[in-house]
């Protein structure tokens, strides 16, 4: 069939969103990438798998592209004893770190890649050992190793000095290392070093019972637990050919939109605080707490962990709860509107927000900025609008975009999205639909692929699963989970150039990227 102008031998996965999978050869790997890029498509994820024991019989590199028709998942088997493949970074800059991660985990390298420094391996395992290859871990002795040095890029020049920050940061934040090169207060360059939280999640997925592993998915990034659980369950359901009921889908969307609102409320408060407006933090954190407390009462968990399960959802809500949830939407809407006016009219706040940490639309397009931050830089993409899957297909989601790409734009998108999510929540509560909350799911007795794709509050979350049901194996052979932070972290390095060091926390918060979801 023809996708993105190419005729490919594709298989459509039985997922609620249009997702195709195809196997390609090394010659077409870059041709396809260029074709996707020329049509305005984007690279969603890149990962590698050890399929030496599967049908491919070798290591496989995979990429996932977003094109107009949907998602295109391409597999490139490397062939016997080969471990390199054509570099995609010149076409999609965001590929660079994903390729470095694949090199650390599976020992596959992008031919001629400009940056081949390790990314996730800080010395915790020996350089020649690749933890996601079969049998690699038995050979890896358990002794703790020394942390290896990392070759940061140095900026030379008169009066340039370096400020290293982290991995342990000054607030209640996740760990990561930032190396600033500054002149006076002005940032000339920022270089990030991430991977501190790498705890081997993808390996762990293959060790857990397949029907239990959704709990791990919900703990890839705690602030996006609903998005990950949904994407993961969607992947498992797609490989099992299981359809969830209308009611289960509506309840999932209810949870996802509540997660979006919870995070936006938290961020708007923190952004006010980072601009020395403590009032904002006090007000928004109060609203967030009210929001979480009702989540605890309605769904049994403040962050709504483990509410989405394979086949559907773990809970249902009665009319009384539904009314309370709807009432809270009205209440929060009024409060947020009042606070938006306060934010908009506060000269000091606007002064800190406007033109700070700018990513102009052209730069955003070139670097592949995605999700919420992308929409604040004119990138009109939101899966809920572009590929509306149930129940979004009946909700007509309004996308919010801004063109300035500064902190103010990212604040504005958050305000708009809260409003829109509250509208969606009320619509969902009016009509949750029928059906059992949890459908039976039978895992296949053969090898199968599954994929899940969801617009979380930060951006697109993607999950790819390789299932092995042959001969009663019943195991997940490979699970790749992708966070939109992979795309956006490198753009943050650009966003701070020319800003002053004290504005970094504000800029960083306005992106609010995930360390856990990236480091895995």
């Amino acid at each position: 069939m023809r996708i993105a102008g190419f005729s490919l031998d594709c298989e459509r996965l039985p997922a609620p969103l249009p997702i195709w999978r195809a196997t390609v050869r090394a010659e077409t790997w870059r041709v396809l990438a260029r074709g996707v890029s020329e049509q305005g498509g984007r690279l969603l994820a890149l990962w590698a798998s050890d399929c030496t024991r599967g049908a491919a019989g070798s290591l496989v590199v995979s990429s996932a592209y977003v094109v107009r028709e949907g998602l295109l998942w391409l597999d490139l088997p490397l062939g016997e004893r080969r471990s390199s493949y054509p570099d995609l970074a010149p076409i999609f800059p965001c590929a660079a770190r994903m390729q470095r991660a694949a090199a650390d985990l599976l020992g596959v390298t992008a031919d001629g890649a400009a940056d081949q420094r390790p990314w996730l391996n800080h010395g915790a395992w020996p350089a020649g050992c690749f933890p996601l290859r079969h049998g690699a871990l038995e050979k890896n002795s358990e002794v703790a190793r020394e942390v290896s040095d990392y070759a940061f890029v140095r900026v030379e020049g008169d009066g340039v000095h370096e400020i290293p920050v982290g991995p342990v940061h000054a607030g209640i934040i996740e760990p990561g290392h930032f190396r600033f090169s500054v002149v006076g207060e002005k940032v000339l360059r920022l270089e990030q070093r991430l991977g501190y939280k790498h705890k081997g999640i993808e390996q762990r997925f293959t060790e857990l019972p397949p029907l239990e592993a959704y709990r791990l998915a919900g703990r890839v990034s705690g602030d996006s637990t609903v998005a990950y659980a949904w994407a993961w369950c969607m992947a498992l359901e797609s490989l099992a050919g299981c359809r969830v009921s209308e009611r289960a889908a509506s309840l999932r969307a209810l949870l996802l939109e509540r997660e979006r609102v919870a995070n936006h409320l938290g961020d708007l408060g923190a952004l006010g605080n980072d601009a020395a407006f403590a009032f904002g933090l006090a007000q928004f954190s109060r609203l967030r707490e009210d929001w979480l407390r009702l989540a605890r009462e309605a769904f049994g968990h403040r962050l709504m962990m483990d509410c989405i399960v394979p086949g559907g959802v773990a809970m249902d809500i009665d009319q009384a709860t539904s009314d309370r949830l709807a009432r809270q939407c009205d209440l929060i809407e009024r409060e947020v509107q009042a606070l938006r006016q306060v934010y908009d009219e506060h000269a000091g706040l606007q002064d800190r927000f406007m033109t700070t940490g700018r990513v102009p639309p052209e730069l955003a397009a070139r670097l592949g900025l995605t999700g919420l931050a992308g929409r604040a830089s004119g990138r009109a993409a939101d899966l809920r609008c572009d590929q509306p899957w149930p129940p979004y297909d009946r909700l007509a989601v309004k996308m919010s975009t801004q063109g300035n790409g500064d902190v103010a734009a990212r604040v504005a998108v958050r305000f708009d999205e809260i409003e829109e999510s509250l509208r969606l929540l009320r619509l969902l509560l009016l009509q949750l639909g029928e059906g059992e909350t949890r459908s039976a799911l039978r895992l296949p007795a053969k090898a199968a692929f599954g994929a899940g794709w969801v617009e979380g509050w930060r951006g697109e979350v993607f999950v790819a699963l390789l299932w092995d049901g042959e001969g009663g194996a019943n195991a997940i052979r490979r699970c790749h989970v992708h966070d939109p932070s992979w795309q956006n972290w490198p753009v943050l390095e650009h966003a701070v150039i020319g800003n002053i060091v004290p504005d970094f926390p504000l800029i960083n918060k306005s992106f609010n990227l995930s360390y856990a979801g990236h480091d895995l």
């Binding site: 209640i172 790498h198 705890k199 637990t225 009032f279 109060r286």
Partner: protein, 174 residues
Amino acid sequence: MWRILRQITRQGLCSEPPPECSDAPRVEAGRIHDELLTILGQALAVRQVDAGSCNGCELEINALNNPYYNIEGLGIRFVASPRHADLLLVTGPVSRNMALALRRTHDATPEPKLVVAVGDCGCSGGIFGEGYASCGRVANVIPVDVTVAGCPPAPIDILRGILTAVRRCRAAPG
């Protein structure tokens, strides 16, 4: 400005324990506040270290700063440097990549110091367990005084964990 003031006065103080007992967490918070003051009689400086969590625990620790719990009002402060800290609040299974940083942070904290491990991951390694990149529970890397179970524990439980550590330290000085 007028809007800000109006919002502040309209909201009033929400950290006070309200008279009705239906809102149990708020009453509980009030009780813990009183107790902390009697035991401590001074400010407590807390350094939070995320050693590899999923960030869920951080969200709930952050929630302690909201007006409902209002722990700063009590004299518990989150500080930026371990050198100013009396207590380390550590989350996550300790990733191998964070083990050294965690050990260094612990070394930099002046004696007498307390360590509270927060969350199922901090207590036992949680769902991540031990593996090629995870050292498991916090106690595998630095000595731990008190653990707070939960995934993530509710803010009030984290507060209770801090209080327990302080109380133990008072009971057995040195």
